[in-house]
């Protein structure tokens, strides 16, 4: 393999490919296109992947909601159609019985799911908004970004049933003028005055709450609406590595048990499993990555075969030249090496150019999609993939180069030199 490091070998190869410019360019375009497609596709897939990641970053990925509906089967002496009500103690039971549950946040709400929104007044301004009674643990499941020195509900608010409220971005816009700081001010919610302790920013990506939602301590809500131990729904986050679908089933089974519902009754409790949606979305992104890999490699393959093809034709064109070289003392091995090295060198140059071009296009896409509302972030191709593609190209380039090289060697110099 010493010839690889011989400057003369490279001068000879470089001379040959730089002098046959058209051939070189056409050859390069084939592989360049292949690797470009590969880089652009897998980068785009990665961008989508990252985009989804970013969208789901604001919420616990394997989280779900569970709420009560009414029974659809008679059971244990109860007739069908019995309305069910989730209770605060259900939360404790779930936490005690199902170890896969990491966080569980009960919530009671007014203004969602068909109920009347709450009439809210501040001075001359007013609006109707969703009101939630929450525990601080809720932020573990859905991140809340609080503006300008404010805060979310804390444990003391709960213990003392403080009349404090976190308002949404839009609520702020509608009730306050631009340069007012809402924190510390008072607003009337229904018939009770609350002190604003924070404004939550609408999270980019998936959010459980709209920008018109307001949050007060759960205990305050209980007193305000006299709701007792009733809860509206539960937000539940399972641990990262558990099967959320199974956890969802377990929770529902447990709830059916507590509330004396037929275990077969599918409609007694409703739920929405974000983890399942997430894994489906990620599955889609993975599928896309895989597809781009397959398409990319197929395109590279096509490009390399193109190189082989063109070299094969060029060997025919260069029959005489190769004959002369052999008459002048080139051994078959030297001729073969030259053709193979030309193939590898062309493939490599084309590959590197394709990678640069692909990276450029990805950078361009990135700058265009930066500010638009589309799950697309930082489209990159992992370095091992790039190196892998280069290795594949060199290997294929060598193998493909062997065909024309073998052809070149198989022509005897006397045949190559025969006058036409």
């Amino acid at each position: 393999m010493g010839f690889l490091f011989d400057r003369n070998t490279w001068q000879e190869i470089f001379g040959s490919i730089s002098k046959n410019r058209t051939r070189t360019i056409i050859t390069i375009i084939g592989v360049l296109w292949g690797i470009f497609i590969y880089i652009a596709l897998s980068g785009a897939a990665k961008g989508l992947d990252n985009g989804f990641d970013k969208v789901f970053k604001t919420v616990a990925i394997n989280s779900m909601f569970v709420w009560a509906q009414s029974t659809s089967m008679p059971y244990d002496g109860f007739k069908t159609g019995r309305p069910l009500q989730l209770k605060l103690e259900d939360v404790q039971t779930i936490q005690n019985r199902i170890p896969e549950v990491q966080y569980i946040a009960p919530r009671i709400t007014q203004g969602n799911f068909g109920s009347e929104p709450v009439y809210t007044v501040r001075g001359q301004k007013y609006g109707s908004y969703v009101l939630n009674g929450d525990y601080p643990i809720y932020t573990k499941i859905s991140t809340k970004k609080i503006y300008d020195g404010g805060r979310f509900i804390n444990q003391e608010d709960i213990e003392q049933s403080r009349k404090v409220i976190v308002i949404g971005e839009r609520v702020e816009q509608e009730l306050y003028t631009k340069d007012e700081d809402p924190v510390g001010t008072w607003i009337r919610v229904g018939s009770v005055y609350f002190q604003v302790i924070g404004v939550h920013k609408l999270a980019q990506g998936v959010s459980f709450d709209s920008d018109t939602a307001m949050f007060i301590p759960f205990t305050t809500y209980q007193k305000l609406y006299n709701s007792g131990d009733n809860i509206g729904y539960m937000c539940i986050a399972a641990y990262d590595n558990v099967d959320v679908v199974q956890v969802e089933k377990d929770i529902k089974t447990l709830l059916k048990n507590i509330h004396r519902v037929d275990p077969e009754d599918e409609r007694a409790f409703g739920s929405f499993n974000l983890g399942e949606v997430f894994s489906k979305t990620m599955g889609f992104a993975d599928g896309l990555t895989f597809m781009s890999l397959v398409v990319g490699i197929a395109t590279i393959l096509a490009g390399v075969i193109g190189i082989g093809n063109i070299l094969l034709i060029s060997v025919k064109e260069r029959t005489k030249e190769l004959g002369v070289r052999r008459a002048l003392g080139a051994t078959p091995a030297e001729v073969r090496n030259q053709i193979v090295m030309e193939s590898v060198f062309l493939t490599l140059i084309a590959g590197i150019l394709g990678i640069i071009l692909g990276a450029g296009v990805l950078a361009l896409i990135n700058s265009f999609t930066k500010d638009i509302d589309f799950p697309y972030t930082n489209p990159t191709v992992p370095i091992p993939y790039v190196i892998g593609a280069l290795v594949i190209m060199v290997v294929l380039g060598t193998l493909i180069g062997l065909i024309p090289a073998q052809r070149a060697v198989s022509i005897r110099p006397i045949e190559a030199l025969r006058e036409e």
């Binding site: 002098k19 070289r325 052999r326 008459a327 002048l328 003392g329 080139a330 051994t331 078959p332 030199l417």
Partner: protein, 233 residues
């Protein structure tokens, strides 16, 4: 320098076998300038190809500078060609994307001569054929005669034992032919052994010995009084 004994060569063409060389006995001493003449089909090119190790003999023996040329594989043949022989072709066979100097340096590349030395030698031989100023030009920028002189310089560059020229003036007009022959004579004067295949009598007359081939046998082998090409230039 060259010893050929009872050389036979035939080509198989389908079922028929074409007996081209039918027992050639032929010696060449060092410093000779030999013309191999004959009409087309007489076997003169085949003989040259065998001498040039581009083709294999069927029967007989061939010794070049004391080395028996027999059962060579391609690699060995290539090495012997590189070491012993310089080729001059009718159609020059310069590599069209290489400059004159690079063409001349090519056999040295295969001799693994260092680049700097290659360039020096290439320039030296180009100077010898009077084309020093054309070193950087591509073959397409040279006239026929100049191309052949570059080809001669290339054949000389490897400092071979024998120069083999196949119709070196076949593609040139008379005046240019004589210039090329003048050059060949001068190279011969320096003691180089040269074999020329030609069918032109005036070219053959410029050699020191004429071997006449007909139907695969030597019918005439005579030493002649050399006509100096410089008279016509």
């Amino acid at each position: 320098m060259i010893e050929i004994k009872d050389l036979h060569k035939s080509y198989k063409m389908g079922k028929n076998s074409l007996h081209v060389l039918k027992g050639i006995n032929f010696n060449v001493e060092e410093g000779e300038l030999v013309a191999i003449m004959g009409s087309s089909g007489s076997g003169k090119s085949t003989l040259l190809n065998i001498l040039g190790m581009l083709d294999e003999l069927d029967e007989g023996s061939y010794t070049l500078d004391g080395v028996a040329i027999k059962n060579l594989n391609e690699t060995k043949a290539a090495q012997y060609r590189n070491k012993f022989l310089g080729f001059i072709f009718q159609s020059f066979n310069l590599i069209n994307y290489k400059s004159a100097a690079e063409n001349v340096a090519l056999p040295l590349y295969y001799q693994k001569v260092a680049r700097k030395e290659r360039q020096e030698k290439a320039l030296k031989y180009l100077t010898q054929v009077g084309l020093k100023e054309w070193a950087g030009h591509l073959p397409s920028e040279l006239s026929g005669g100049q191309k052949q002189r570059v080809a001669i310089a290339r054949a000389m560059a490897a400092e071979p034992k024998v120069l083999l020229a196949d119709e070196p003036t076949g593609a040139l007009d008379s005046k240019t032919s004589y210039e090329v022959m003048d050059l060949i004579q001068k190279i011969n004067d320096q003691g180089n052994t040269i074999l020329i295949v030609t069918h032109e009598p005036d070219i053959a007359d410029m050699c020191k010995r004429i071997v006449h081939l007909k139907d695969g046998v030597i019918i005439e082998d005579k030493k002649i009084e050399q006509v100096r090409a410089s008279k016509y230039v």
